[in-house]
């Protein structure tokens, strides 16, 4: 009876299901960064164990339970390893979730990956509608179905709402301006009513001294703006198909946030919008660096990710038993009676713990053998690691198959990659990264590029390496094996920030000191945590860069745009749009635009081949006639018109002396074409009247013109009182 009822319900469900779209997700199984090196040279990041379970399992388990039916796993580096893993895991035969893999070796960034998917899409059209875009290192338990529904409804109302971004409240450290996940502090501006994302900025610590740079037009176009500095970007995006085509159109988009989101935000032409969704009680975080590896591991142990915790079998993992004090222990662990296994510790299957060991706040994988009197604190020991007697390991990551010989010490922040051997009584210095693979030579600084390059060659190098190792003495003591990677000079300072180890006291004190000094210097208060800013709050518009320098770049860009417009015969309106976007990105006033455009126009006139002054004048006049619409857009105010005249004057004096003799004539043309109004010329003349003789050259040149203007106005104003001067 019950079964029949159920059957009946299922039929009606089916018909509903056909009308709705399948829920799909794209999972990027490659981070396209080098933050997990040297570990990721040998194994892809998504297969690294996070509390003894490969990261991708957390992501897939979450997607599955959130109702996603089909996942496209995009594999790039080490793609065969990922595909092999997925083939053998239980995801292959999962009843509710279809896992498909997309393989590409050419992609070197998330942008490339999405472009590749888009290309595939034209052939196979696998992605039918909105999809969830996540990376394979996301740990979350948030529900998605409602959010996708919300996104779809918004999309129905507003064609331009192409993406919903998930954010979560998480206070950054006041000292380091770093989130608990080790990422830089994030500033976002959101419309409080519609939740539309208006500004996105991942500040570097150096710039984060409590100031934030917002575009003034943002304030003009929105009655109120919510500014957050305590949000964490979860890197979970609900995207509409337009996102893929946007990546295709903008072939230079690489990074999802740095390029794509910023690109969409400054792009006025297409007018695409991104919305945010703040999650309340659910958990979401991305393992992006070693610091977040540590943080997310602890969150899992503390059960914030419930039900994706070690004692629940959520996706192919063997659950371990949870005891008092948050100690997770597999049932077949052999533990000496004198060993002290403390709070928040996970011990995997088949691990042996020897006499007098002290283990605290650590994760130990399966099949490890730990000798006597070993101290392990805050560390992550992966599978099949052998630790001999008397070792001390603090805040380190030790990968599969490592052997640490008796008496060795790992100082905080050490990362030992696969199968490294640490020699007897050797002390591995803090923050060092050790691998059997040699550090790749210096590469160009483009971090997205280097990853793919080296990973393809890594396998070949590995085979040749074992021979090399034997002949060469090790850097890890006489009986050790492995290379200590050098830290690049620039990154040395950063090392402590993203390491698994907590930030040492002295560093914190240093930063606090530096901050105090800075505060004394600037006497500037820190921006309070999130609050609503009214549109009159222009005061926060503090520019970090030198404005003059910026103007130079801006002028060049405008000139380039203008020349292109002339060459390609682009319409005035489109030109205005392009220049507007430049203006927004450089944060310029419209007077600056007017100056820059006029400069470009005159430059063009001068650069056009001409034999005599009169020909130059003709050129200039025709250009002004043709493009006065463009210039006119920015010279609506008298101030702006004066700016144009000043610019002109400056040009005549400095860059284009040929124009000098024609100053008055061209000014006349500008007046006739209504680019410059009478008022502006008068005020310019007034201003200049008091200047040095040298500066008056052009004023004198136009004296007749000004005189004529005055007379004309006096004639007009005959009825009115006579004007002085």
């Amino acid at each position: 009876m019950g079964a029949q009822k159920k059957g009946g319900a299922r039929v009606s469900d089916d018909s509903e299901e056909q009308s709705r779209q399948r829920l799909q997700a794209i999972l990027l199984a490659d981070s396209f960064t080098t933050k997990f090196r040297p570990v990721t040279l040998e194994r892809p990041k998504v297969l690294l164990p996070l509390v003894n379970v490969p990261m991708i399992d957390y992501t897939l388990a979450w997607l599955e339970s959130a109702g996603i039916e089909e996942v496209f796993v995009f594999c790039c580096a080490h793609s065969t390893q990922i595909i092999d893993y997925l083939e053998t895991s239980e995801w292959r035969t999962h009843p509710n979730l279809v896992v498909r893999t997309i393989e590409s070796h050419k992609s070197i960034s998330a942008g490339d990956a999405l472009r590749y998917i888009y290309e595939q899409q034209t052939e196979t059209s696998q992605i039918q509608g909105d999809f969830v875009l996540v990376s394979g290192d996301t740990v979350s338990n948030m529900p998605l179905a409602d959010l996708i529904q919300e996104h779809r409804e918004r999309k129905k109302k507003d064609e331009k709402a192409i993406m919903t971004m998930v954010i979560k409240k998480s206070k950054p450290s006041l000292i380091t301006h770093q989130s608990r996940l080790g990422t830089d502090q994030l500033f976002i501006a959101v419309d409080p009513l519609t939740k539309q994302l208006l500004h996105y900025e991942e500040d570097k610590v150096e710039h984060a001294r409590g100031s934030v740079c917002l575009d003034k037009s943002l304030m003009e176009s929105n009655p109120s703006v919510l500014l957050y500095n305590d949000m964490q970007d979860c890197y979970i995006d609900i995207c509409s198909p337009e996102v893929l085509s946007l990546f295709e159109d903008n072939f230079d988009y690489q990074h999802l946030r740095r390029h794509f989101v910023k690109g969409v935000l400054v792009d006025d032409i297409m007018g695409y919008k991104i919305f945010t969704h703040e999650i309340g009680s659910s958990y979401a975080a991305r393992v992006d660096n070693f610091r977040s590896y540590d943080t997310v591991s602890k969150d899992i142990i503390q059960r914030w990710t419930y039900p994706y915790v070690p004692d629940i079998n959520f996706g192919g993992n063997r659950p371990v038993k949870l005891g008092r004090e948050g100690i997770y222990r597999a049932c077949d662990v052999v533990q000496s009676r004198s060993a002290d296994v403390g709070a928040s510790t996970v011990v995997g299957y088949g691990t042996k713990i020897g006499n007098g060991d002290r283990i605290l706040n650590s994760v130990i994988g399966s099949g490890c053998i730990i000798g006597s009197n070993v101290v392990i604190e805050g560390s992550y020991i992966w599978n099949n690691v052998t630790i001999e007697d008397g070792c001390e390991i603090r805040n380190a990551i030790v990968c599969d198959g490592v052997r640490i010989r008796a008496g060795a010490v790992l100082e905080p922040g050490v990362v030992l990659s696969f199968k490294v051997v640490v020699g007897r009584d050797f002390v591995v210095p803090a923050y060092s990264k050790v691998s059997l693979l040699q550090q790749p030579m210096k590469e160009d600084s483009d971090e997205e590029l280097e990853y793919a390059d080296s990973s393809s060659g890594a396998a070949d190098r590995l085979s040749g390496l074992s021979l090399e190792m034997e002949s060469k003495g090790s850097e890890l003591g006489p009986d050790g094996a492995g290379y200590i990677w050098e830290v690049c000079e620039g990154a040395h300072d950063e090392e402590w920030k993203h390491s698994v180890a907590p930030i040492p006291e002295d560093k914190l004190a240093e930063i606090t000191q530096a901050m105090d000094d800075y505060d004394d210097m600037e006497d500037e208060s820190v921006v309070p945590t999130s609050g609503e800013l009214k549109s009159d709050a222009d005061s926060i518009n503090t520019d970090v860069n030198d404005p003059g320098d910026d103007y130079g770049y801006f002028e060049k860009e405008v000139e380039g745009t203008f020349l292109r417009a002339v060459e390609e015969g682009i319409k005035v309106e489109l030109g205005v749009l392009e220049i507007n976007s430049l203006r927004l990105s450089y944060n310029m006033e419209s007077a600056d635009c007017a100056g820059a455009i006029f400069y470009s126009m005159m430059k063009l006139a001068v650069d056009t081949p001409h034999s005599s002054g009169s020909e130059l004048y003709k050129n200039a006049a025709s250009i002004i006639a043709k493009w006065k619409g463009l210039l006119g857009f920015y010279v609506k105010q008298t101030d702006e018109q004066i700016e144009v005249i000043m610019k002109f004057e400056e040009m005549c004096q400095e860059t284009a002396k040929e124009l000098g003799p024609l100053f008055a004539q061209i000014l006349h043309v500008l007046y006739e074409k209504d680019v410059v109004q009478e008022d502006a010329i008068m005020r310019w003349a007034e201003e200049k009247a008091g200047a040095d003789e040298a500066d008056k050259v052009y004023l004198q040149q136009c004296e007749t013109f000004i005189q004529w203007l005055k007379e004309a106005s006096e004639e007009e104003d005959e009825d009115d009182d006579e004007e002085d001067d």
Binding site: G2, A3, A61, S65, P95, N96, N141, K168, K169, S170, K171, S173, I175, T176, Q178, R180, G182, D230, G280, S281, S282, Y283, R291, D294, T295, K298, D299, Q302, R303, W304, T305, Y306, P307, I312, N313, F314, K321, L322, G323, R324, G326, A343, S344, L360, N361, E377, G378, N395, A501, P502, I503, L508
Partner: protein, 409 residues
Amino acid sequence: MPDVQSMVLEFVNKLRKRKIEGSQATARCTVELLRSVISHHRVPHANQASALIDAVKAVGAQLVAANPVELAVGNVVRRVLHIIREEDLSLATAAVAGLDLLDASDDDEDVNGKGIGYPGMSAAVVAAAARSTLRPPSLQTLLEGTPESATVPYTSSSGADSESKTADKSSITRKLKHDVIEGVNQLIHEIAGCHEQIAEQAIEHIHQNEVILTLGSSRTVLEFLCAAKEKKRSFRVFVAEGAPRYQGHLLAKELVARGLQTTVITDSAVFAMISRVNMVIIGAHAVMANGGVIGPVGVNMAALAAKKHAVPFVVLAGSHKLCPLYPHNPEVLLNELRSPSELLDFGEFSDCLDFGTGSGSPLLQVVNPTFDYVPPSLVSLFITDTGGHNPSYMYRLIADYYSADDLVM
């Protein structure tokens, strides 16, 4: 018809992700799944009972492993195994004694299942009766007159025409599966009807103008209280809200909707209010073999308060909640720690959870257990669908529902 294996997988998946809440829903799903497992299982000619038992055990092991904390799953699996064993035994008895109980028991079920709806008259009972011919009668069968008297006529009548119908081997093989499925249907019926069975007894326990305290939300308690209300008893209910999930709020809503005088109190106010309370009634998550109770968190405190003030502490439990295991370290091993987000707002406390500064070890720990264990000494009375029982009597009930062979799966 969907593939059985995929149904099992789907259910296992739901259990793992903790998507099924409440022991009654879980029990129902489990028993329905087991029924389709049995009906799809091809039985060999010889030794079919053990083949069925193996099949059920294999599925049961998967289910129990998927969520070891949900004891109802294991209970139901054991109940089904018990049904198979009993049916097998009764068939064997019938064959040996030359009795043909099968037709009789079938007719009996049809009548009872639809007409009277009395749960005691199942194949299992008939089987128990048959067994009683082989074994000495149990304490329960001696005390409870009904099953005995109900079955006695059948045994005699079927004994009369035993010569006419000799047990045919092939009919028996078909019969076993059929009977087992009948028995499982009976079990489904029993689980579905446990609320009504329990609620029927409400009038005997709740008296005029009493004050009843309850904690958390339980469908059984709701039905129980409403049944008393329907019988024109006027009484008041105190509901402890059941932090951190606040299911007491839901219960209060339901109670008010049904017209009961309701007062919501915090969990911590239980001790303060207990002196005005006449009886504490709670719904159990599971009842252990020693009479100990696993209930929503906070129940132990309520039980202690009741003991201190000599207020009766009554536990309502459907028979699928009876677990044949003895608790060992129940606070930890039979508990489930849920997400701390039910207690704290992650965003607000994220600065306390910053492992980048300080010693790197978490200073803030949040423990959010789902269940509480109440030792049997604090329980005054169990009300199950078969009536009221003392905690010390639980082991005996369990012996009637489960086979000793299945205790360890």
